[in-house]
């Protein structure tokens, strides 16, 4: 092009224009030059992921519709907030994060289909997503087959470990054991009554809890009952509770069933201020539906409460409310979802690469000091070291922190002696 320009007779104006055009590429080069330390794409992306000189694409895969939308919306919001904050700080390896959101529609095969679409068609560098165990189990073979990276936020039953998944929530022993220890010591509890929803997570959690009660605490499980997902009739189990008078009611009832359960418990005259109840399935999100007055006094065992008093959380809560509205509440899983993009960013920077294999290898030992829950670190088994906390539900729907473990609890997805 410039050869031709030299040959022709050019008016000064045209010459100026041409010079200007020649300068255009130089200008577009500028932003790239300004990220002096941003490494070349060819060096950080050897497997054909959606990484350009200025952008990297990740996927967000949750249910925006269907029965799970009410739970998963918080996770979507937290992940978007984290991505926005990371971008405001300059992105990852000099690249802004762009996200593609897909709807799992509360339908497990749809999750698998969308995960495949994100990996195969969109070549996303990582996926933040899934919520229920069922959706994770559906997505897992896809992640392993196409070598993707999933950041999974929910506390779950354990018995799983994959190179292609980072579990940012607690596995069962992390969530249960410290809480049981605390309540046994604090309340001198010897007898426990278990109530759960009927699927893999409550069943596995209660199995672990039962072994711990019987073998470690030397207590007794006086009842164990399961209800189908979505059940709203708990009167018979409440009668059994009244008959057996357990020291502690231990519950992992999920979703909308909680509303009926706590209302009926209250109506039956069981006062949670006097009858200790420990739940591993109620967060601030659920209390929104249950109503603070129906559950005040119950203990919940989690790793995060919105009311936590630490500098990270004091910055996180207002930022979240500013982004998503003053009335939103932040539950345990929402916070864990917020960790996903941050842990991924830190891992990519540690590995110096977006390649999934390198991220999987670099993940153990990655620590995030800015976590709202305090401090977390990734274990060799791709779960997080984190503290277990017990909170007491208050009338206003928030939890008051009652107890936290002194140290981080080691994740142990395949606990010996509990299977």
């Amino acid at each position: 092009m410039s050869d031709e320009a030299n040959k022709g007779l050019l008016s000064p104006l045209r010459r100026k224009l041409l010079m200007g055009m020649a300068a255009v590429p130089a200008i577009t080069m500028l932003p790239r030059a300004s990220f002096a330390q941003a490494p070349a794409t060819s060096a950080v992306n050897t497997t054909g992921l959606a990484v350009t000189d200025t952008e990297v694409t990740v996927g967000i895969l949750h249910s925006a519709t269907g029965t799970m939308a009410i739970s998963e919306t918080g996770s979507i919001e937290a992940e978007k907030l984290a991505i926005e904050q990371i971008n405001a700080m300059g992105g990852v390896l000099g690249r802004k994060i762009k996200f593609i959101q897909e709807d799992g529609a509360s339908d497990w095969p749809t999750f698998a289909e969308k995960a495949k679409k994100l990996l195969v068609n969109d070549k996303v560098a990582a996926i933040m997503g899934c919520w229920t165990s069922a959706s994770r189990k559906a997505v897992l073979p896809v992640m392993e087959q196409y070598n993707g990276m999933l950041y999974y936020p929910t506390f779950y039953e354990g018995l799983e470990q994959s190179k292609n998944v980072i579990y940012t929530g607690q596995e069962a022993t992390q969530q249960i054991l410290a809480g049981l220890n605390w309540i046994a010591k604090e309340k001198g509890a010897k007898t426990f009554f278990f109530i759960g929803s009927d699927y893999i997570w409550p069943r596995t959690s209660n199995k672990i809890a039962r072994k711990h009660v019987e073998n470690v605490l030397k207590g007794k499980v006086v009842g164990e009952e399961y209800y189908a997902l979505g059940s709203t009739q708990f009167n018979s189990v409440i009668n059994k509770i009244k008959l057996t008078k357990p020291d502690v009611i231990f519950t992992d009832v999920v979703g909308g069933s909680n509303v009926a359960f706590y209302k009926q418990l209250k109506a039956a005259g069981i006062d949670l201020a006097k009858q200790p109840l420990l739940t591993i399935s109620v967060t601030e999100d659920e209390i929104d539906g249950i109503g603070g007055e129906n559950i005040a006094g119950a203990y919940a065992c989690m790793k995060y409460f919105q009311s936590l008093d630490n500098p990270n959380n004091k910055a996180f809560v207002p930022a979240f409310k500013k982004a998503w509205g003053e009335k939103t509440v932040i539950g345990d899983v929402t916070q864990a979802a917020y960790l996903g993009p941050w842990l991924w960013k830190l891992t990519v920077e540690k590995a110096g690469s977006f390649d999934v294999d390198k991220i999987a290898a670099a993940s153990p030992g990655v620590e995030f000091k800015g976590a709202p829950e305090g401090y977390v670190r990734i274990h060799e088994n791709h779960h997080l070291w984190s503290k277990t906390r017990v909170g007491r539900a208050k009338l206003d729907g928030q939890f008051e922190l009652i107890y936290e473990t002194a140290d981080l609890v080691e994740p142990d997805p395949f606990p010996k002696g509990y299977q």
Partner: protein
């Protein structure tokens, strides 16, 4: 003469167009991921095809086809799951050699009803027979007592709800709400890589055409005419000496078996089976596919299934939070404006124009292409 047994000329053209579309056009234009999605959509086409016979011709509205889809799918999935749960694959479990979900539920030995599913022959037989016999039992219990119409639809719905609860509740034996995931090989042949997906797609299309032929045969046989007569005036058929119940049972069984084949294909193509295809909502969705396509048209039902599922995928990819409204709008629009679905649009608007075009080109009438017989229009 055999031509008349299966289809007239315009139906033959329709089937050939569909064959070219599925066998040539789609594989050439779509990447493997999208082709696999089409394979998934086509599994529902089996169900829609069954509904055309059962609902469109026989007038028996079943809102429980998910039951049969699920039974077929679970039979296939049980075979695949057993193969994926070999001792070396499941070393990590406390009882190696049984499916992972059994291990999680403290089951230590393979239940007796799982054992025959080690055999592929048994599995294939079960895919056809289990839903077939189940449909026969329901059909006999209902139709012999002259339960029909709305009551029958409600009962099929109840069956769908019961089966879902059963599967979810018996999670040690069925995988519960998670379903059966991580299906890997069929007789040692890996069903997950791209080339396997392509092979499975063509296999599925082949099976679909076999089913289309069966449906065409039923439609053109005396049996099909009795079904239509029953739909229009049941009592007259009964008074003419036909056993209405038996014909209804037959239509219901054939719809069930088609649905089960679809379910088995689903397990193979998607590598997954879960109770979310068994319940009331998916069953109703399957009826919607048929309604959109046109419940009186065999080919219409297939195009309807493809269209609705394609819309579902593309709308949900583009508008992850609003797509359900778009889909709902599509259903309402189709059902209100075109009660006979896509096939109705074709038969009322497109086909007559084509016929007129052909007729105006030809100066002398041709016995073979008599347009009054031409049948894109589904009504008999």
């Amino acid at each position: 003469m055999t031509d008349n047994r299966f289809f007239n000329r315009s139906e033959l053209i329709g089937i050939l167009v569909l064959a070219v579309f599925l066998v040539v056009v789609l594989p050439l234009t779509l990447d493997v991921f999208r082709l696999n999605l089409v394979a998934k959509y086509l599994t529902y086409a089996f169900v829609a095809l069954g509904l055309v016979i059962c609902w469109g011709y026989g007038g028996i509205l079943s809102l429980g086809q998910g039951v049969f889809f699920g039974l077929g799918g679970y039979c296939m999935a049980m075979f695949l799951k057993l193969e994926a749960s070999s001792v070396e694959n499941t070393k990590i479990q406390s009882t190696p050699g049984i499916p992972d979900f059994m291990d999680w539920n403290q089951i230590t030995a393979l239940p007796f009803f799982w054992k025959p599913f080690n055999s592929l022959t048994f599995t294939i037989a079960a895919i056809i027979l289990v839903p077939g016999i189940f449909a026969w039992i329901i059909g006999t219990a209902m139709f012999k007592r002259r339960v029909g119409g709305t009551y029958f639809a409600i009962i099929t719905q109840a069956v769908a709800a019961i089966l879902t609860i059963l599967i979810v509740g018996q999670q040690g034996y069925t995988g519960g709400i998670n379903g059966m995931t991580d299906l890997r090989t069929l007789k040692g042949w890996d069903i997950r890589p791209d080339h396997a997906k392509i092979v499975l797609y063509f296999f599925e299309v082949g099976c679909l055409f076999v089913c289309i032929m069966i449906a065409q045969f039923v439609r053109h046989s005396k049996l099909g005419r009795i079904l239509v007569a029953m739909r229009e005036k049941e009592d007259r058929v009964r008074f003419s000496g036909y056993s209405v119940a038996n014909f209804k049972i037959f239509a219901f069984c054939i719809a069930a078996v088609f649905a089960a084949i679809g379910g088995a294909m689903f397990a193979l193509n998607v590598g997954f089976m879960s109770p979310s295809f068994v319940g009331i909502v998916p069953s109703i969705e399957m009826v919607i596919y048929t309604a959109v396509g046109g419940r009186l048209s065999i080919l219409g039902a297939i195009y309807g299934t493809l269209l609705v599922n394609f819309a579902k995928t593309s709308l949900s990819e583009t508008f992850p939070e609003l797509w359900l409204f778009g889909l709902g709008g599509l259903f309402i629009a189709v059902v209100l404006a075109f009660p006979n679905g896509l096939a109705g649009i074709w038969g009322d608007y497109v086909q007559p124009r084509i016929d007129r075009l052909i007729a105006s080109r030809k100066s002398k009438p041709d016995g073979w292409t008599d347009s009054s017989v031409a049948d894109g229009a589904p009504a008999e």
